[in-house]
Structure formats: C-alpha cells, structure tokens
C-alpha cells in the first residue's frame, strides 16, 4: 500500500518529470502564460499518461519486442486524439488556446518515458498510479509557473483581476516579459534551484 502511494507522491517532488528529469519542457513553456490552459493541459497529460500506462501494461506480455515503440506510439496517439476531440466538444475556448499543444502530447517525452521505463515492466494498477503521479508532477510545475506568469504578466488569476486597480493608479505596470516564453524557462530554473539543495540533503 505504502509503495503504491509513493508511486503517486514521488513524481511530485523527488522524481518530478519536469524539474528533475527535465522532460516535457516544450509544452511547459507554451501553455503557461495563463492558469486555465495550464490546468487543462496538466489534466490532459495526466489522463494520457495514466491511461496509456494502463493499456501498455495490460498488453506488455503480448507486445512483440521488435515493434514495441510503434505499439506504444499508436496507443498514445489514439488517446491524445480522443482527448483533443473531447476538449474541442466540451471546452472549446480552452482547446483553442491549447491549439497544437494537445496534439503534441504525443511527442511529450514524459509519456513515452513512463511507458518504456515503467509500464513495460510493471502490473497494470501500479502503472496506472505511476501515470497519475507523473501527470500530476507535470501539472504541478505547469500550474506553479502559470500562477506567477499570469499574476505578474496580466495581473489576473484564472481570468479574474487580482491586482487591485489602486496599484495601477500608482503607476504599477503588468510585466510584458512574463507573457513571453523565456520567462517560463527562467521560472522553471528558479523552481529547480529551490528544489535541488533540499533533495541533496536527503
């Protein structure tokens, strides 16, 4: 039981896919200018990693070793297309903001990484939990980055104004640099910098 719990909690910090394994950086830069797309993207990746881990783990004994990457890719692509279609049908405005990045989950290294490293060698339930954990670890970083970028870049959170008008009257200006992709890289760098010494201590 404890071991199963660790499958979910470890990727949040100790083996975080973004800040420790440095995977999935591309989409982390692209969809974190606002909090809402970041949340949806985090959720979509979690669903895709968890389900593809589950499916591949169920199939793992039958998958011919020579074509295992192709099989993995087919499963991942099918799931991503499904997620994309569902988003387009039910949260259209968010799917418009995410645009190509949902499709690019297919090439997100976290997904293939977990399939190769975990699902091919573990039982379905453990693989599913591992997928959830890694998806959430990715989502966590996205949300933290998006929180700071939206707060300082637009003065809003989830679209609501949080920086009071009074501050703007004093001459406060939204930082346009926060909206641009390089700031996401810098914020991720800062998160790693804060995280690293703590991990080294243990």
């Amino acid at each position: 039981m404890n071991k199963n719990l660790e499958l979910i909690t470890a990727p949040l910090r100790k083996t975080n896919p973004v800040t420790v394994l440095i995977l999935g950086i591309c989409s982390a830069l692209a969809v974190t200018a606002k909090l809402k797309p970041a949340l949806v993207m985090g959720l979509s990746v979690t669903v895709v990693v968890a389900l593809s881990n589950l499916v591949i783990s169920l199939l793992r004994k039958g998958i011919p070793a020579k074509i295992r990457i192709i099989v993995q890719l087919i499963v991942v692509a099918a799931l991503v297309i499904l997620v994309d279609q569902v988003l387009k049908a039910f949260v259209y405005d968010v799917s418009k903001q995410l645009s190509v990045y949902v499709g690019l989950i297919i090439t997100n290294c976290i997904v293939m990484g977990r399939l190769e490293a975990f699902a091919m060698a573990n039982k379905p339930w453990e693989s599913f939990l591992d997928g959830i954990g890694n998806g959430l670890g990715y989502a966590l970083i996205l949300v933290v980055v998006a929180f700071f970028r939206e707060l300082f870049g637009s003065g809003t959170l989830l679209g609501f104004q949080v920086i009071p008008q009074g501050l703007y009257d004093f001459g406060y200006v939204n930082n346009g640099l926060m909206i641009l992709p390089p700031m996401a890289l810098i914020i991720i760098g800062v998160i790693m910098w804060l995280q690293k010494p703590e991990e080294d201590k243990k």
């Binding site: 200018a33 039958g62 998958i63 011919p64 020579k66 074509i67 192709i70 099989v71 087919i74 499963v75 099918a78 297309i81 499904l82 279609q85 569902v86 387009k88 049908a89 039910f90 259209y92 645009s99 870049g153 346009g176 909206i179 641009l180």
Partner: protein, 241 residues
C-alpha cells in the same frame, strides 16, 4: 512464425484503434460543430454591435437579429438570398479565403453579406481573411446599410505574438474602428492602420485611420491589408447602394 505474429498483432491493434477513433469522432462531431457555429455567430453579432451576447443566448439572438444573408457576384449583383435556416446557408458556412483565391486566379467568385439588425439599424457584416506575422488572421467587420461607416469589428488570429500582435483582438484596438469611414470624398480609401498616432493626423485623414499596435507592426499591417483587400472586392456592390 514470429513475423506473422508481429503483422497480425499490429493489424489488429490498428483496426481496433481506427474503429474506436471513428466512433468517437462521429459521436462528438455535432458538439464540435455547434461550438464552431456559436463562436461564429458570436463574432458576427459583436461586429454588428449587438449588446449583451453570451454563450447561452447567442443562438436565440442570432436567429432573432439576422435579417437576411446575401451572396453577391463580382458585378455586385445579388445572386442568392436567404431569410431562414441561416446556419445552413453558404454565406454563413463559406470561407472568404477560398473566394479571394478564386478572385486572384480570375475565376468566378461570390461574396457573402450577412445583414443583422442590432436594434438601431441594419448592419452589413462582412467576413475578413488575411495574413498576420506568424499565421492567418481573420474577423468580421460591420458596416452601416449604405457602407459609409464602420459599426464594429472583431478580429482573431491563429498564432500572433501574445502581448504584441495578439492585441488586435482586444477592445482597445477594435473599439477604435467604430464610426470610421472607408470613403474619402467618394473615393474608396479603406481604413489605414497607422503608426505615430492618429491624433497627429489632419482631421480629414483621422476619419479613415486607426492606431497600430506598438511592437505589432506586421500584424497591424496585416489587418490594414486584410480590410482593404476584402472591402475592395465588395466595391461593385457597395456602389449600387
């Protein structure tokens, strides 16, 4: 034997995935189309300056406020008119880009006009299609019934730079167009998106100009060219009004 297993395995897997995805696409397609139509209606109503449009009432408002839809040809003659089932009609579903392409290649083309009553007047809404810096930009422009003044505009884009070119969608940019005219002394001049401040221009030029976006020069130029190119094709029809 081993190869046979691999082939059978992959063929069965692909077949299952294909069936699954086609089923999902068929089930979800009506929802997706409804979203696309709603967004289109929302933009058209906004361009006609209809107030208080939101996701819930957009279909109702559109059906109430839409007076008619027209298709006009290159000579400015009305070739088809529609007064009901608007979302099925070509003027609603067609893409301006295809018509502009036909025009550039000397083929026959038709142009859509959507007439919306915003409570005060009938507004002619025209679809815009053009190119920005990174990708396509598009939108709708609403003109008074004699095409003299702009009632409202909406713009959207695929991938303009956030905070710079992408600002064309904000009210700060689009509100400027209201009340501008596309004619000067009876000559077609379109609307110029200018650098350096409209306020510094002569009163005469101010009527045809709006401020560009700082740092978004190429997107601003794209908007300028898009409006000019599209409205120019409507001139034969406009002259008859």
């Amino acid at each position: 034997m081993k190869d046979r297993y691999i082939f059978t395995y992959i063929i069965i897997l692909v077949a299952i995935v294909a069936v699954l995805l086609s089923a999902a696409a068929m089930v979800l397609q009506p929802f997706q189309q409804a979203n696309i139509n709603n967004e289109k209606m929302m933009n058209i109503l906004k361009a006609a300056d209809v107030q208080n449009v939101d996701k819930e009432n957009v279909q109702k408002l559109f059906n109430e406020d839409c007076v008619k839809m027209l298709l006009v040809n290159a000579k400015g003659e009305v070739v088809e008119e529609c007064t009901k089932d608007f979302t099925e009609f070509a003027a609603f579903t067609m893409n301006m880009k295809d018509e502009l392409y036909k025009k550039d290649n000397g083929k026959d083309y038709v142009l859509p006009i959507i007439v919306i009553n915003n409570g005060k007047e009938n507004v002619n809404v025209i679809q815009l299609q053009g190119a920005g810096l990174w990708g396509p930009i598009w939108g709708y422009i609403g003109m008074t019934s004699n095409f003299q003044n702009v009632v409202g505009v909406v713009f959207d884009h695929k991938s303009e730079t956030p905070g710079l070119g992408a600002e064309i969608t904000t009210p700060g940019f689009t509100e400027q167009f209201k009340g501008k005219t596309i004619f000067s002394d009876g000559e077609f001049v379109s609307i110029d998106v200018v650098k350096g401040g409209v306020a510094n221009l002569s009163a005469d030029l101010q009527k045809n100009s709006v401020d560009a976006i700082s740092g978004g020069t190429i997107t601003s130029n794209g908007v300028n060219n898009m409006i000019e190119k599209v409205l120019e094709s409507y001139l034969p029809y406009i002259e008859k009004q």
